[in-house]
């Protein structure tokens, strides 16, 4: 006898009526949802081997316990396949982690989305896109896993846009913002291994994040050349004074150029950290730093992030095209840190 599902039940006559009820109840992100039936919810729980009353996370400031049952219901609504459920669960564990600090990115006018970077074998098994059109449409796993996490934020944590979620402009990544690292073609150490996991483990890294900022460099055949363009675009992005995490997403052509020059992720981080510093004079002239310009302010430099380790480097994106991107984190690394969780199966 499987454990009882305790959520309230609503009876409707048709599929259309079920979808409209979800809108009427305020359970949708704006797109149609898959009506969460008991069979669908149980398939999710079974795939993740979770009892419905298992607590996935607890948000103390909201006094909300996020149970497996509620995660499963929202995963069904998002359109997930049951085998995606362990990734959704790991993502929810990540945003409920104290280091991610839900209270800020779940509510802030800064409009953070949950960037989710999937590493390890599960990314290939579930066909989570790591290539062409990385942040765009076309892959069910990418679009529904992130949507499920955002629906949990809405329906369980109460981050309702315009009420608790007060993002001033927000961005489309708040619908879903999931990528995988292209471990098959990358010559570099995968993100999860850099963050202390084994290559054969599967993980999801969550980062409170702005939208992707694309940059273009078709001229250079050296790591320094490509990364000089990146650093120039990046230097005054995001919360310059907050020093948050950044994610650097290096796509195929740039990856081959940079790796061809013998550089790994450590060298990328150090170069970008060094070349994204702003003078105090510039920060004051552009109304980012307070106070009058002092005599030595042209020489005084402030790094964009506190440490090179605050830069997360991910190999992903299409093989062709001289484009890559950087993603500024929300607020500051002191306020919300990127968190990596193992995907348990």
């Amino acid at each position: 006898m499987p454990a009882t599902l305790t959520s309230q039940r609503f009876k409707v006559q048709s599929l259309d009526e079920a979808m409209e009820l979800c809108y009427a109840k305020g359970w949708s992100d704006g797109l149609p949802v898959v009506p969460p039936t008991e069979a669908g919810v149980r398939a999710m729980l079974d795939a993740a081997k979770l009892a419905p009353d298992t607590q996935i996370g607890y948000l103390s400031h909201r006094a909300v316990s996020i149970t497996a049952e509620k995660v499963a219901i929202n995963a069904v609504m998002a359109g997930c396949k049951p085998e995606y459920m362990p990734v959704v669960v790991a993502g929810v564990e990540g945003i409920a982690d104290d280091r991610w600090s839900y209270h800020g990115p779940g509510t802030s006018t800064g409009g953070a989305a949950v960037l989710m970077i999937v590493n390890g074998p599960i990314a290939r098994e579930l066909d989570i896109n790591a290539g062409d059109n990385l942040f765009g449409p076309g892959w069910r796993a990418n679009l529904t896993i992130g949507r499920a996490v955002r629906l949990v934020m809405r329906n369980v944590a109460g981050s309702l846009p315009g009420l608790l979620d007060r993002g001033t402009v927000g961005h489309p990544g708040k619908l879903s913002y999931v990528i995988a690292e292209n471990e098959t073609e990358s010559p570099w150490t995968p993100l999860h291994v850099e963050r202390g996991f084994r290559p054969e483990q599967s993980t999801v890294t969550v980062m409170a994040a702005e939208s992707p900022h694309q940059f273009y460099n078709q001229l250079s055949s050296t790591p320094e050349g490509v990364l000089t363009t990146l650093a120039d675009n990046m230097r005054v992005s995001g919360n310059v004074m907050g020093q948050p995490n950044y994610c650097l997403v290096i796509a195929g052509e740039h990856m081959r150029t940079i790796a061809g020059g013998g550089w790994g992720k450590k060298e990328i981080r150090e170069f970008v950290w060094k070349h994204t510093q702003n003078s105090h004079a510039h920060l004051k002239r552009t109304n980012r730093m307070t106070g009058a310009i002092q005599a030595d302010d042209e020489q005084k430099l402030r790094p964009l992030v506190a440490s090179p380790d605050d830069l997360l480097v991910v190999a992903a994106g299409g093989r062709a095209g001289a484009f890559s991107c950087f993603i500024p984190g929300w607020s500051s690394a002191k306020t919300s840190q990127a968190v990596t969780k193992e995907i348990k199966r």
Binding site: L5, S7, Q8, R9, F10, K11, V12, Q13, S14, L15, E17, A18, L21, C22, K25, W27, P35, P36, T37, E38, V41, H61, R62, A63, V64, S65, I66, T67, K70, I73, N74, M77, S101, H103, G104, P105, S108, T109, L151, N155, V156, G158, T290, S331, S332, K334, T335, S336
Partner: protein, 93 residues
């Protein structure tokens, strides 16, 4: 017929006891909790001064949170318990 499940949850209830409200502010000690946002200290200092000038509070003292995205930390809560009768806390953008 289709039966669907509610994806939402109500926050668990917590017993919250409110401190007794003072009948007047005259002679009271005021704690101001500053959330680190730009100008929030100036705004609160002005509020503190107005409370002194117009309501006769005895003094005000400002406490700074670690940052705007987190609740006030235990250390300042403990300090406020012993040093203040009234607290002004808020968040502004």
């Amino acid at each position: 017929m289709i039966e669907i499940l509610d994806p939402t949850v109500a926050a668990s209830t917590q017993p919250i006891a409110f401190a007794p409200r003072p009948r007047a502010l005259e002679g009271k000690r005021v704690a101001l909790i500053e959330n680190t946002k730009y100008n929030s200290d100036r705004l609160l200092a002005r509020i503190g001064d107005m409370l002194k000038e117009e309501y006769g509070v005895a003094e005000w003292k400002m406490y700074r949170k670690h940052n705007a995205g987190v609740p006030a930390h235990q250390e300042i809560i403990e300090a406020i318990k012993t040093s203040a009768d009234v607290v002004v806390a808020g968040i502004g953008d």
